[in-house]
């Protein structure tokens, strides 16, 4: 496991502590959760930026089109 130091403003540090208190999690857990959430959203944005033109060409204009065609 790698130990990482991060510089935060006082306000950001307070916000982080407030999140930890409300969730009952450590700062490390909150940062790991945030990183996973950020990575997933980035991956979704990347695939949703690249694939829709091909999907439209294949006749899938909306998610319902896909849901009804693919089992």
């Amino acid at each position: 496991m790698t130990r990482l130091s991060v510089r935060l403003s006082d306000k950001e540090a307070q916000d982080l502590q407030a999140i930890c208190d409300s969730l009952g999690k450590s700062r490390s857990e909150v940062v790991r959760d945030a990183m996973r959430a950020h990575r997933l959203r980035q991956a979704l944005r990347a695939s949703q930026a690249e694939l829709p033109p091909a999907a439209r060409a294949a006749g899938w204009l909306t998610e319902d089109d896909l849901l009804h065609e693919v089992s």
Binding site: D33, R36, L51, V70
Partner: protein
């Protein structure tokens, strides 16, 4: 609440912003997201067939499932892929199976697992989140009331009926 998303729901989240995407992010953020090698193989086959000029599509799909828990496939019934996915989710103890496939949706439930459309699953999530928030409010009110009564330690199983607006 662990949730298994069928191939069609996973593909939908990968391609379109919308309900299936919201389910994936909600489930992943809560550590509820399940998938299986068969879902990945089916998704790769669909993407290769539908998008032949985009060989990168399978990799983009896989990137969205890196945080999901991979459950084991099952071998039976050999002639029905959909039924094998449902059986794998049941074997993994998933309480919800999300699909857009009308034939699978028609089964409604298998053993203790409910089969839901993406919209039905989202409504269930919203209701569950509301219930969690409501019970948190009830607990806070009960603790405050106990303090007012001089009960500095809230006794377990102590029932106080309070209305919360």
């Amino acid at each position: 609440m662990r949730v298994f998303l069928d191939t069609n729901a996973g593909l939908s989240a990968t391609i379109f912003a919308g309900l299936c995407e919201a389910l994936v992010t909600e489930c992943s953020d809560n550590g509820w997201l399940l998938t299986s090698p068969r879902v990945q193989a089916e998704a790769h086959a669909v993407l290769l067939r539908k998008f032949p000029p985009l060989p990168r599509a399978s990799g983009l799909f896989d990137d969205n499932w890196r945080e999901a828990e991979l459950i084991a496939d099952v071998a039976e019934p050999a002639e029905d892929n959909d039924a094998r996915l449902v059986a794998a989710a049941v074997a993994a103890g998933a309480p919800i199976f999300v699909t857009g496939d009308r034939r699978v949706l028609g089964r409604k439930a298998v053993a203790a697992m409910r089969i839901r459309s993406p919209r039905e699953a989202w409504i269930a999530f919203v209701r569950a989140a509301f219930a969690r928030r409501a019970s948190a409010v009830v607990i806070r009110v009960r603790k405050r009331r106990a303090y007012q009564l001089g009960l500095h330690h809230w006794p377990r199983n102590h029932a106080l009926t309070l209305s919360v607006s």
